[in-house]
Subunit: 338 residues, 4 copies
C-alpha cells in the first residue's frame, strides 16, 4: 500500500507541467497518478519518466479511477467549473489553479456545491499566501505588534504581455492576485474598486492601456492601491508596503548576489513569476498534499475564489467607467467562517 | 569692500534660526547682515556671535538698509505677501520659504508684481529640488534614458504633528512638497486632484484624519499618488518611486551605518526633515547666494509658488468633497517660460 | 513496489531529527525506513507518525535490512568511520553529515575504501554548496564573466556557543565550512593556513579566544580570510565577498521583510543556521535522493571530506603556533578527478 | 575689515584646485587670498574669478604676506616639510594634505617644531574622519553602546592606477588612509603590520602586485585588515565593517537612486574619491576654517601624520619581506595628549 497522495493533474500546459514536475521531484508523499490533457501526445509526454502514471484525454476517466486520491486542476479557467463539480461529486481533495471560475455567478455555484457537500475540499491556487514575506506581513497584521493596518501599496510588474492580452485581463489575470492579497492581509472583504488610467507606455499591445492604478477599500476602511504594469520590460517584480499605526513594512525587495561591475552595483531582477515564486509554489503544493493526507483542507477556499471573482467583475466595470464601483457579495456560508 | 552677499533674514523662529546658522556657518560668500523679528529679544539672540549683524523688529527697516543686498523670508506664510511686495519694490534677491503665500489669489498678485518688475527676483523654498536623489530622478526624466515617465508614487511620513494640525494643513503644509515634486519631475502642471480618506490611526489629534492618499494627474496624463501620514510615529520618511517605459527608479531609501544587534539588522530612521534634508537646504541656500551674486535667479519661481497654491486649493476641496477636482490656473507669464 | 528511496537515519539527535522531518515532510521520493539511535526511547520517538518506519539501536541491523536502500549518517563525528565502512561494504548511497571523520588519517582510509569499491557512494554534508547564493557565486567563478577570482572574505558569526566549545572546535566545527567553501568557489586545494588571535569578547566561555581570523591560500594564490566569531550575540550570519578582476560579488545579505518602527529601519537576523540554511538543507537532501535513485553520486565527495580534515588539522596547528602552516595532502585518487 | 579667514593655497594641481574651488564656492567665512604654484600660468588660472586673490610662484612670498591668515598645503608630499616649517615659524593655521611628510624621520621633525611652538597649528588632511558614516562608527566605539570593538575589515578599491604606481605607493598613498582610520576608530596606535600578496589581476601596471591584503594589530589587540585593490575596474569603493562584543556595524554601502532596468536592479558606483568623499572634504575644510577663526586647532594632528608615516614605513617593509613588522614610534609629546 502506498502512503503517498496519488494525484491526477488536469491540463499539461505551462502551469500543469510545472506542477507535474513539482509533484514528482520536489513534493514529499505525493505522486503523479494520472495526467489528463485533451492532446494525447502532450499527456504522454508529461508522464515520461514517472513510473506508474497514466496519460488520459478525459478528466472523467481520471476522476473515476480507483488509483486517484486527489486532483490538481491546471486547465484554462473557463474549463474549471465542470471539473470542479465532478471532483466535488467524487468528494476528493482539489487544488484548483486561479481563477476558481471566470465569473462570480459560476464561482457561487461551486461554493454552493461544496457547502452542500458539507466539508471543504477545494484549495484555490493563490500561491502568494505561501511566500515567506507575504506570510510574514500577514503575521504582523494578525499579531497587532505594529497596531492596526491602515494602508497598502502594491506593485505588480511584468516584463511583457503576449498579443491579445486585453485591459480586462490586467484585472482578471493579474490584479486578481492583489485582490486576494489585500483580503489575506486584512482578513476583510473588499467593498469597492476604482481604476485610474493615465499615460500609457509605447510598449504595450494595441488596445491595451498600461500601466493602470487599481484602488480598493476594505470593510474597515483600509485603502489599498496597485500599480499594475504588464509591459515594464525590466523584468518581473511583485512588492508591497503596508502602513501600520506604529510602523511601515515592505516586502518584495530585490535579492542577491550583489555584484559591482562596470560602474554599477546591484543584482539581477527575476525574469518571471516562476523564479520569483518558485518556493511559494512548492510550499503551496506541499501544504495541500499534507492537508489532503490528513483529511483536512486549508489555504485559500472556494469562498476566496468567489469573492475575488466578484472583485474582478467590479474591477473591470471600474476600468470601463472610471467610477468607484461597489463589490457585490452574497452572504458567506457557515462552512467558510473562521 | 565685502564680496559677500549681505542677507536680511525675516523671522527668527525655527526655520529662520536654521537659515541664520546655515548662512553664517556653512554658506560661502554670504553673511547675515540683519535679523528681523517682531520679538526684539529673539532677534537679538539670533545675531549673537555674528559680527556686524543688526537686530531689528521691522522688516521695512532692514529692507531699506544700504547694508542689505538680499532677503530671506522665514516668517509664517500669511505674513509673506506684504514683505514680498516690499522686497520686489526694492528689486533685491528674495529667498522665500514655502508657501509663497497661502492662497492662489495672493500668490498671483506676487507673480504679477514680479512680472511687472521684468525680471526674476524670487526663489521659493522648495528645497527638495536640491536633494541629490530628487535631482538625479529629475535628470533621468529629462534625459529620457528610460523612456517616458508614466507613474509616480510618493510617501511622506512624519513622526507626529502638534495639536491643531488640521486636515487642511496636511495638504497645505505637507503635500505642497509633493505638488512641487510632481511638477518638478514631470515639467508639467497638475490638472486634477483627488483625496481618499480611509481607516485612521488612533495616534492623530482629534479631528484629523490620518493617513490620507492624494491622487494627481498631470497635463500629459502622468498619474501620481502620495501617502501623507503625519503621525506615523516611527520617524520621518520621504521617498518616491517612478515608473518609466524602460525601468523603475526609487529614491529615499534608508541609509547607514548598518548595524546588527539584538537579533536585528538595520539602521536609524531620520527623526525629522532637518536631518533628512540638511544637505538639500545647504545646497538650496548656496545656489541662491551664488545666483544672487551673479545677478540672476534660478530654482523654484514665484510661478511655482502660485501653481502649488492652486494645487493646494484644489486638494483641500478634494479632501472635503471626496471628488476629483480640476486645478484652475491663469496663463503662465512669459517671464517664467523656459 | 515502492518507488521511493528507503533511508535509514543513523542518530536521532538535533541534526538527525531535522533530517528525519525533512525526509518525511519535504523530500520527494524518499521515505524514512529506519531510525537508529543508541537510546531506544529516542529512536522510537523519532519514528512517531511515520508509517512503516522501524526504530533500532544498532546501525548494523539497519544497514543489513532488505528494506533499507540508503543511509544518512547524523551521529557525532567520531562515530562516522565505522558506519561509513559498513555502508560502503553494503555498497549503498551514503549522505554523511560533516565532518566525514574527525582527522585526516581516518578520512583517508574512507577515501581508500571507496576507491577500492570503484564508485562514488559518499556525499558529505557541506550543505552550503546548495545555498542559492553560494551556488550563484560559484557559477560566476566558473563562467569567468568577471575574469579571474582573486580574493575571498568570509564572515561566520554565531550568537553563542555552549560551554566546552574549545578553540579547536572553532576550526573543526565552524571554519570547516569555509575550508570547503573556498575549495568549492576556487575549485582548488588550500595550501596553507594561518590564524590570528587578538582582542577577545568578554562573552566567550572560559579558555576560548573569540573572534579569530583564519587566513588561507589556494594553489593559484587566491587569498581567503574568515572572521570566525561564535559568541557574537546579535544572531547568526554567514556571508562572503569575492574580488574578481572585473568586479566584486557579495552574498549573504540580510533579508526582509523590511520594517520601520521605533526610529529604526531594518529586519530580523536569522537566529541560527537552521533558519538561514533551511532551503539549502532541503536542496542537499533532495539532490542526494535524486542522485541515489538514479544510481549516481554527486555533491561533496569523500575526497572533499578528507581534504577539509587536512585543512582543519593545519588550522588547529596554526591556531596553536601563530605560524603559517602548509596543508599536507595525499595524491587525489582517479575516482575523484573531474 | 573682512571677517573671513584669508587662505594661501600652496599647489594648484588636482587637489589644490579642488580646495580652491571649495574655499571659494562652498566654505563659509573663508576666502582664497593667494595661490602659489611653481608654474605661474597655472597659479594665475587658479585665481580666475576670485576677486582679491593673488597668484605667486614662491611659497615664502605668500606666507610672508600680511593679507594671509592661514595656509593650505596641497603640493606633492616631498615638498611639505619645508613649507610646514616656514608656516610654523609664522605661527598660522595649517591644513596639510596627507602625507604630513613622506617618512617618519622628517615627520618627527615637524612634530618637534610644533611642540616647540607650544600649540597645535597643523591639521593633516585625513578627510575620512569627516565622513558622516566614519564619524558615526567612531561614535559607536566611543559610546561603548555595542561593547568593546574587537575586529575591523576594510575595503579600499580604485578603478585604476596610473602607470608608475608602485607597490610602495599602494601602502604610502592608499593604505595610509586605513592606517589613520584604524587609529581613529580605536583611539590606539598600530603596533604591527603584515602584508599578504597572492594572485594578481591582469589589469595592473607592470611590476605592481594587486590586490594585496594588509593586516594590522593595535595596542589592545584589535585586529584589522584591508583589501587594497587599486585596479578593480568597476569603480571606487571604500567600506568597512566593525565587529563589536554586542553587534556588527557596516559603513560604505552603495547609495541611490535605485534603478531597475534591463533585467538588473541597482545603482551607480561612485567613479572616484572626489564623488564619494565630496561632503567629507567640504566638512573637513569648514571645520578647519571654523577652528582657525576661533584660534584653535582640531582634527588629525601632526602626531597623526607622524604615526601614520611610521605605519607606512613598517607596511612597506612588511610588503617586501612577507613578515609581521612592528611599528616603531617615539614617545607622544604632551601637546598631543588628550
Amino acid at each position: 500500500m502506498s502512503e503517498n497522495l496519488r494525484v491526477a493533474v488536469i491540463g499539461a500546459g505551462r502551469m500543469g507541467m510545472d506542477h507535474i514536475l513539482r509533484l514528482h521531484h520536489r513534493t514529499a508523499r505525493a505522486e503523479v497518478a494520472a495526467v489528463v490533457d485533451i492532446d494525447p501526445t502532450r499527456a504522454r509526454a508529461a508522464i515520461a519518466g514517472i513510473p506508474g502514471a497514466s496519460a488520459v484525454t478525459d478528466a472523467g476517466e481520471a476522476l473515476g479511477s480507483a488509483d486517484v486520491d486527489a486532483v490538481l486542476i491546471a486547465t484554462p479557467g473557463f474549463l474549471h467549473e465542470d471539473i470542479l463539480h465532478q471532483a466535488l461529486a467524487r468528494d476528493i481533495p482539489i487544488l484548483c489553479e486561479k481563477p476558481l471560475t471566470p465569473d462570480p455567478a459560476s464561482a457561487w455555484k461551486v461554493v454552493q456545491a461544496e457547502e452542500k457537500l458539507g466539508r471543504r475540499r477545494i484549495q484555490v491556487g493563490f500561491m502568494r499566501r505561501y511566500d515567506a514575506e507575504y506570510a510574514a506581513l500577514a503575521g504582523i497584521v494578525r499579531s497587532r505588534e505594529l497596531g492596526d493596518l491602515l494602508m497598502l501599496h502594491h506593485q505588480h510588474r511584468n516584463a511583457a504581455t503576449p498579443a491579445g492580452f486585453t485591459n480586462e485581463m490586467l484585472i482578471n489575470d493579474s490584479v486578481v492576485h492583489e485582490f486576494d492579497a489585500v483580503r489575506f492581509f486584512t482578513g476583510e472583504e473588499i467593498t469597492a474598486v476604482q481604476v485610474r488610467i493615465g499615460k500609457s507606455t509605447g510598449n504595450s499591445p494595441v488596445g491595451q492601456r498600461d500601466p493602470q492604478q487599481v484602488l480598493m477599500e476594505t470593510e474597515s476602511g483600509v485603502l489599498a492601491d496597485v500599480e499594475i504594469y504588464v509591459n515594464a520590460r525590466f523584468g518581473y517584480q511583485v512588492s508591497a508596503q503596508a502602513a501600520f499605526e506604529d510602523g511601515i513594512v515592505s516586502i518584495g525587495a530585490d535579492t542577491g548576489p550583489l555584484v559591482r561591475t562596470d560602474g554599477r552595483w546591484g543584482g539581477r531582477v527575476a525574469p518571471g513569476f516562476e523564479q520569483r515564486f518558485s518556493a511559494a509554489y512548492d510550499a503551496e503544493v506541499q501544504a495541500w498534499v499534507d492537508a489532503s493526507l490528513a483529511g483536512t483542507a486549508e489555504g485559500p477556499s472556494a469562498w476566496d475564489g468567489y469573492a475575488t471573482a466578484a472583485c474582478c467583475a467590479a474591477g473591470v466595470e471600474a476600468q470601463r467607467t472610471g467610477q468607484r464601483v461597489p463589490v457585490a457579495l452574497n452572504g458567506k456560508p457557515a462552512l467558510y467562517l473562521s
